[in-house]
């Protein structure tokens, strides 16, 4: 397959994620409103918010350095890059060898790093606390993600996400093996936390972890950052789907098969959001200091799946 065509698919993927991400966050807001029996915003409210913010004037704190000004573009660009790298529509990574899971994990870390740094750089005490919490949660969740990804990589014999996707879709890595479904369970928990859902975080409130570092942002930068946060949620879910539920993705590249895999991807992500909405609205906010209890259990399960892999179960 010519490389140019794949690059094109990568661009399509990134654009696709860029365009649909606000719908999903809107969906989760609507679902929450429905579960609270209030009217709530409609699904497209996030687009209106973003366009309203773009038109507003931008204010930058006097103490802030270039980090503060560059972060929106860096975060947006990196998230777009991850969206290009992960096999979302096809069963292979559009950027070939760049679709390496280690690279993806590091790219996610770059997003988080700059996000937290900008929160600190803003000079606002509030943003600083948000940043430190974001990093604390990251330290708790990342080991689980990395361990499960390595486990799957060991099973597939390759760290290429595309090859992992193909092997899972072909049934070579079967769900019957306890190591796989244990890993899937703990990865699902990690994904749930990463998307900023309620017992840990409320991804749409300024006093919470994910939006805390945004305190000092305004205008266009705020719009860009918010948009990339919406995208990050979809991207993290896409990573989960690419590793554990690659069914429906196009094995051969053609326009029709790409359209089909777009539709299945939308369905799968909607399913994830519906389940997440049901879960998060049945729980109360967890103290950040209590979060390690849950993440340690998730990590323990991931570790257990690794033990089962070693024992050849």
């Amino acid at each position: 397959m010519p490389g140019n065509q794949l690059l094109l698919i990568g661009l399509v993927q990134a654009l696709f994620v860029l365009l649909v991400a606000p719908i999903f966050t809107g969906l989760s807001r609507t679902l929450r409103a429905k579960l609270h029996s209030r009217k709530g915003p409609d699904i497209f409210q996030n687009y209106r918010d973003i366009f309203k913010l773009i038109k507003r004037q931008e204010v930058v704190p006097a103490q802030a350095s270039w980090v503060f000004r560059l972060t929106p573009s860096i975060v947006m660009a990196t998230t777009l890059l991850i969206a290009m790298v992960i096999p979302i529509l096809t069963l292979q990574s559009p950027l070939g060898i760049a679709g390496d899971l280690i690279a993806v994990v590091y790219l996610l870390a770059v997003v988080r790093f700059f996000f937290a740094l900008a929160g600190l750089d803003s000079g606002s005490g509030f943003g600083g606390i948000g940043a430190s919490r974001e990093m604390a949660l990251a330290v708790l969740v990342e080991p689980t993600i990395i361990l499960v990804l390595f486990l799957v990589a060991l099973l597939a014999g390759s760290t290429d996400l595309g090859i992992i996707s193909q092997k899972v879709a072909a049934g070579e890595i079967s769900y019957y093996s306890p190591a796989v479904w244990l890993g899937m369970a703990s990865f699902a928990v990690a994904t749930f936390i990463e998307t900023g859902k309620l017992p840990f975080d409320l991804a749409e409130a300024e006093q919470e972890i994910q939006e805390g570092p945004l305190t000092e942002y305004s205008g266009r930068s705020l719009a860009v950052l918010k948009w990339s946060l919406y995208m990050k949620q979809v991207v993290v879910i896409a990573l989960f789907l690419a590793v554990f539920f690659p069914f429906g993705s196009a094995a051969v590249v053609s326009t029709s098969s790409l359209l089909v895999s777009m539709a299945t991807f939308l369905l799968k992500v909607t399913g994830f959001y519906v389940i997440a909405a049901l879960l998060e609205n049945s729980m109360a906010r967890l103290l950040l200091f209590k979060a390690p209890t849950v993440t340690w259990v998730a990590f323990g399960i991931a570790l257990l799946s690794f033990v089962f892999y070693l024992a050849n179960v």
């Binding site: 209890t293 340690w296 259990v297 399960i301 257990l304 033990v307 024992a311």
Partner: protein, 215 residues
Amino acid sequence: MSGTSVVNALAVLLILTSMLVVETRKLQTAAYMYSIQSLVLVAIFLSLAVFMEAEPLYIWSITALITKTFLVPYLILRTLKKVGIQEEGPALETSSSIFLAVGLVALSFVVVEPFHMHAVLKLKVALAVSIAHFLLGLLCILARRNALKQILGYCLMENGSHLTLAIMAYNAPETVEIGILTDAIFAVLIMTIIARRLFKDFGTLDTDKLTLLKG
């Protein structure tokens, strides 16, 4: 899906539920978890009965269903109602006890590795799980301070030894099995009565605080 893979998957579920029993702070939830776990144990017995064609195991599973899934949690919950629901303090942090639990599971896999008995060759995983289960029960007793939680730990150990028995000697007569089960029930009954007396006299079930004699 072959028979052994069903047993393996259920065995993994058993480990998962027992870890939840150990880690859950709320005693009521832990008791329910124990009930679920016993249900998984019964499912293992049933699948062993089908795949090994062992008739006695059907009766085993029925008695286990009655005693472990319903009676033991009922006894614990009844005692809980009497003493009030007590959250236990952290005797061992979640992080370290999870690491210990995973380490114990790994250890039991290592221990089982050199086994070459004909009877258990196919069910090595389940055997390892049963040993791991016994160790997890021990961990629960050592790492938790609440007396009722320690009773649950004892029940976990009992489940583990039970599974070992079912794997090693699935054709043992039913009387053996029923004897063992009723034994366990009486042990739990007596322990809950003691726990209730302890609570009456000391006002706590924290075993660290039970250091004084009171007459």
